[in-house]
């Protein structure tokens, strides 16, 4: 068993005429939380979408639990027990909050069959999910939709959780809850990969970090080492943490 649950090697992605990823090497250690940082347009979201098969890698390999998934369709990739929250959240606006979560709960055909204890945990983290349980998700505010999107991704245990900017648009109290949630998920054995612009969030949660620039990973290592090295932060990110 490899120490890395997910491993990208030399991944190139083209979107139309644009060559976005130029050979991404990324290793996500099993049971850890990996932060993917980098400037706007560096290729972070494209990397996540390529992992999920939403963009097709034109070159390179993507191995999940030792198996090459670069040629699989998105539904097959998700069925490998991977949850993904895209930047645009992917909320089904006409469905209720409950139905949005139910879609992701593979073992359940109705809300009654969902894991009640886990639902209680989610309600505690994200009060809006409980409050608007029977409301169309499209009626919620931007931050509330983000809560639903993350709740849907954690409604059942997954081996790998991938979230594109989890803290985006959320009030500070909810960001705090989310940090708690990710820490708990990690303790329960979930491997997590996050793209995040909120550096305090990144620093508090990240075990390992990969920094992208211009379609490549230009730095990878422990989060702690980056957090303690102001010169490295400046050269990689343009500012100190």
């Amino acid at each position: 068993m490899s120490a890395h649950l997910l491993e990208l090697q030399g991944v190139h992605t083209h979107i139309g005429a644009y060559h976005i990823l130029h050979g991404v090497d990324l290793a996500v250690p099993r049971g850890q939380l990996t932060m993917l940082l980098g400037r706007n347009g560096a290729g972070k979201s494209t990397t996540l979408r390529t992992i999920m098969g939403l963009w097709r890698a034109s070159q390179g390999s993507i191995r999940f639990d030792g198996r090459d998934i670069a040629r699989l369709d998105t539904p097959r990739i998700a069925q490998l027990n991977i949850a993904y929250v895209p930047e645009a959240m992917g909320i089904f606006a006409d469905l209720t909050v409950k139905e949005n979560l139910l879609l992701a709960a593979r073992g359940a055909r109705s809300a009654a069959q969902m894991d009640a204890a886990r639902l209680e945990w989610i309600f505690g983290l994200f009060p809006a999910v409980e409050k608007f349980w029977n409301h169309p998700a499209g009626k919620l505010s931007g931050g509330q939709k983000q809560m639903v999107a993350v709740a849907r991704a954690i409604v059942e245990p997954r081996d790998l959780l991938i979230v594109d900017e989890p803290s985006k648009g959320l009030a500070p109290a909810i960001v705090h809850n989310m940090i708690e949630a990710f820490a708990q998920l990690k303790r329960s054995g979930t491997t997590i990969l996050l793209v995040e612009q909120n550096l305090r969030f990144a620093q508090r949660l990240g075990d390992t970090v990969a920094v992208m620039d211009d379609g490549r990973v230009v730095h990878a290592g422990p989060m702690q080492a980056l957090a303690e090295d102001a010169a490295l932060q400046r050269s990689l990110l343009g500012l100190s943490l």
Binding site: I15, Y18, G38, R39, N40, G41, S45, E87, A128, K139, L140, S141, G142, G143, Q144, Q146, M147, E165, S167, K168, G169, L170, A171, P172, A173, I174, V175, H176, N177, I179, Q197, N198, L199, R200, F201, R204, L237, G238, L239
Partner: protein
């Protein structure tokens, strides 16, 4: 130059009162931050002021002029500037063209018209120069030729700010202007807002969750919870209040 005022501004969606009798005025030369839990009605309040949503009750006025019955386009002409939604852009056109169109729209009527090739050409040059200047100001100039649809999220937000600037409004309404931006990019937008503040004739409203940004920029903070105005005052006082500490920051929790 005028004060933006809302009186008993209210909107109901079925049984849900999203904004509930908010009476508030915003003076020129003041930056007011609007904070509150997710779903408190902050964006809805913006939509009511800009006219994207029609109020169930209450009124909106600018400089004493009642805007309540006006559609968004007329409110924009009256001086209310709300960041464009990306759905209003031309996604297939380059960034520069989108900004130039906004500059042109804002200046329509201010310049003479006529089928004179010289004036058309000089207008075009002037509009282009202004659009380029705005793109420089938001640090998006290097993307001037990219199609809007291809921009990453943070760059789209910068474009929204550039379009808002192009309108040269009396009232600037920013809704999380730095969301999705990298830590090396957000300061560019904050600097721009700081510059705007120096022009003492503008009313600036800012919805923002990043409390360090609020602390630094705001002259005043109002707090919305469940659609009602729960606090209003100087930043230090409002941040220390129990409504912010408990309902917003989460009492006993460290703010992220």
């Amino acid at each position: 130059m005028g004060t933006l005022a809302t009186k008993d501004l209210t909107i109901r969606f079925g049984g849900h009162v999203a904004v509930n009798a908010v009476t508030c005025s915003f003076e020129p030369g003041t930056l007011t931050a609007i904070v509150g839990p997710n779903g408190a009605g902050k964006t809805t309040f913006f939509n009511l002021v800009s006219g994207q949503l029609k109020a169930t009750a209450g009124s909106v006025s600018l400089g004493g002029r009642d805007l309540t019955g006006l559609p968004p386009s007329a409110r924009t002409r009256a001086g209310l500037g709300r960041a464009f939604q990306l759905t209003n852009l031309f996604p297939g056109l380059p960034v520069l063209e989108n900004v130039r169109l906004a500059v042109q729209a804002a200046q329509a009527g201010r310049h003479r018209r006529g089928l004179n090739l010289w004036s058309l050409w000089s207008d075009h040059r002037r509009l282009t120069a202004r659009a380029e200047e705005l793109l420089q100001a938001v640090a998006l100039h290097h993307r001037r030729d990219a199609a809007v649809a291809s921009l990453p999220h943070g760059d789209q937000r910068k474009l929204e700010v550039a379009l808002l600037m192009a309108l040269e409004p009396q009232v600037y309404m920013f809704d999380e202007p730095t969301a999705g931006m990298g830590h090396d990019e957000a300061p560019v937008i904050l600097e721009l807002i700081r510059e705007l503040k120096k022009d003492k004739t503008k009313v600036i409203l800012l919805v923002e969750h990043k409390m360090d940004v609020v602390r630094e920029l705001a002259d005043r903070i109002i707090v919305l919870t469940n659609g009602t105005l729960a606090a209003d005052g100087p930043p230090a006082e409002v941040i220390a209040s129990s409504v912010v500490q408990e309902a917003y920051l989460g009492a006993g929790k460290e703010a992220a």
